[in-house]
Every structure is written in structure tokens, then in C-alpha cells.
């Protein structure tokens, strides 16, 4: 006998995605973030706001951030990397053994957007190495997701719950 309160899973058959698709996308993101880090380290921190806003590493970082925002807002199913996966990778692979709920990778896209947005704001404000630090944090998350199927939502969600509980207890 079993007790299952998570009823959302019954919808999975119709709404689930191939779990390899977000990992494929995270791989592309991880490589692009390495390029951002290399470009940002190669170019000295520019003096004026206009110069900072037009640095090549920064522009690529903004594009990555915008893609995170797209994935978080439109859902990971409508992410452009998902279309690339379906067109290029999926036909060469065997069918997925199981489908995944798109909620978790969509949440991870939101986390990626927040991290990159903080980097963008701090960089424009003139904080040195803001892009390098933010891109490194985002890289670690994307790399772990892509290579190790790390589930960011599984840990972050529980941490947020516990932080809320602690705040509620203290108030």
C-alpha cells in the first residue's frame, strides 16, 4: 500500500519533458559562461558606464541572462535550447526512459536569471569582477546540472522552507 500526496505527477504523462533536454541546454550555457569569464578577465575593467555596458563579455552575459529570463517566464519547454535539442540531439538519441516535470528546470532557469541579474547590476555599478564572480557561480550550477544531473531545486527549495521557518519562529 502507498500514500501519495503529490498528485501533480499524474499530469506528467502529457506535460513531461525529456530530462536530457535541460541538461543539453545547461551544457551550452556552461560553455558560454566560460567564454564570458575569459572575455571579462582578458579586458580590463572599463572606466565609464558606456564602456562597461559595451564590453564583449558583458554583452554575452546579458544575452545569457535574457535566455534564463525566457526559460523562467515562458517555461523551459519553450526555451530556444530545447528547440535545438529536439532538432539536433533528440533524433540521434534513444527515446527517454522517463519524462521529467518541467517545473524543476524552469525553477533552475529562474535561479540562473537572478544570479546573472545581480552580476549585471553590480558590473554596471562599477564593482570589479562582478561579472566574473556571478558567471562563475552560474557556471558551477550549469555544469553540475549538465554533467551530474544535479537538481538545484531539490536543495534550494528545502533551504528556503527552512529559512522561512526560522524567520517565522524568530518573529
Amino acid at each position: 500500500m502507498t500514500t501519495n500526496p503529490v498528485q501533480a505527477r499524474t499530469r506528467l504523462a502529457s506535460t513531461g519533458i525529456d530530462p536530457r533536454s535541460p541538461r543539453f541546454g545547461a551544457g551550452i550555457t556552461a560553455v558560454l559562461l566560460l567564454v564570458v569569464i575569459a572575455l571579462s578577465l582578458a579586458a580590463p575593467m572599463a572606466g565609464t558606464l558606456a564602456e562597461r555596458a559595451t564590453a564583449p563579455g558583458f554583452i554575452l552575459f546579458v544575452v545569457i541572462s535574457a535566455l534564463f529570463a525566457w526559460g523562467a517566464a515562458a517555461g523551459v519547454k519553450r526555451h530556444p535550447y530545447g528547440a535545438v535539442f529536439r532538432a539536433l540531439a533528440r533524433p540521434r538519441l534513444s527515446p527517454p526512459r522517463e519524462l521529467e516535470d518541467p517545473a524543476a528546470p524552469t525553477f533552475a532557469q529562474g535561479v540562473g536569471f537572478v544570479i546573472t541579474l545581480v552580476g549585471i547590476i553590480l558590473h554596471l555599478a562599477g564593482v570589479p569582477f562582478a561579472i566574473v564572480v556571478a558567471a562563475s557561480a552560474a557556471f558551477i550550477a550549469a555544469f553540475l546540472n549538465s554533467v551530474f544531473a544535479y537538481c538545484l531545486g531539490c536543495q534550494l527549495y528545502v533551504l528556503i522552507l527552512r529559512a522561512r521557518n526560522a524567520r517565522g519562529a524568530a518573529a
Binding site: M1, T2, T3, N4, P5, V6, A8, R9, L12, P19, L34, I37, A38, L41, A42, E98, E100, D101, A103, A104, F107, S136, F139, I140, F143, L144, V147, F148, Y150, C151, G153, C154, Q155, Y157, V158, L159, L161, R162, R164, N165, A166, A169
Partner: protein, 142 residues
């Protein structure tokens, strides 16, 4: 910055990420025996615990793909073994339990004995054989 130094930093970042990933993967599904001090009651849980020899108590969350795989494994073990039951709790419905039982990730599975004592806890996606071995060792000593 010197291109050689930039390359070294990138290689370092990939290496650190790989080490973190390997450590994380190594910890997934590891069965940690408990000292028997934590007791889970139906009252604390807000769910009627079955009166079985072993209860596999799984904590899940909505943003959790491995929770589904863990559900399938535990459900199948409970279906095959007499006296073993599977109970799943969604932490989004009972957030206070995350702090109460110091849960660090979902899925987290507790193996409870007949008295509701937590005999082992397993963080992350679990391995079927490891769970069965733990159940057997608890039943032998019971």
C-alpha cells in the same frame, strides 16, 4: 590579464566544479544509520502512519525530478514486501517538517521501524538494493 593565467583560472573552475559534482553524487542515496533517538509519530506528521514492521517515509517537494524516481522505487519495494509500507509527504504542504527533521534536500527518505523510530535516513535519489539491505538488517535485529 595573461592568457595563460586566464586558461589556468578556467581549468581551475572546471576542476572545482567536477570535484563538487563527484562529492555530491557520492553522497546521493547513501544510507546513514541513525542512533535511534528520533521518533516520528502520526501526530507530529499529521498523517496516519501504518502499523507495519517498516515504514518508508519519503519527503518530497514540487520542484524535484528525483522524487518521482524515488517514489517508484519505494512504492515497488512496499508492494513486494510484506510488512513494508510507503508514505510520502510533500514538504510544500508541511514546510515545518523540513526544520523539525533537519531535511537538507528532497527526496529524503526515513526508514522507520514498528515503533516509529528513525533507523536510517537516505538523502537524494536512492538505490533499491541498499534500501532492501537496510530493511533486512532492521528486521533481523527486531
Amino acid at each position: 590579464m595573461n592568457p595563460l593565467l586566464i586558461t589556468a583560472i578556467l581549468v581551475g573552475l572546471v576542476t572545482v566544479s567536477t570535484v563538487i559534482g563527484l562529492m555530491w553524487r557520492g553522497a546521493q542515496g547513501r544510507v546513514r544509520r541513525s542512533n535511534g533517538e528520533t521518533i516520528v509519530s502520526s501526530q507530529a506528521l499529521g498523517v496516519d502512519l501504518p502499523l507495519s514492521d517498516i515504514t518508508l517515509l519519503q519527503f518530497s517537494s514540487p520542484l524535484c525530478a528525483p522524487c518521482r524516481a524515488t517514489h517508484v522505487v519505494l512504492n515497488s519495494i512496499a508492494g513486494q514486501r510484506e510488512g513494508v509500507e510507503h508514505v510520502e509527504i510533500d514538504l510544500s504542504e508541511r514546510p515545518e517538517l523540513a526544520s523539525e527533521f533537519r531535511i537538507a534536500q528532497t527526496p529524503t527518505t526515513f526508514i522507520l521501524d514498528r515503533d516509529g523510530v528513525v533507523r536510517a535516513r537516505i538523502g537524494g535519489a536512492l538505490k533499491r538494493d541498499a534500501v532492501i539491505a537496510e530493511i533486512d538488517s532492521i528486521l533481523v535485529t527486531a
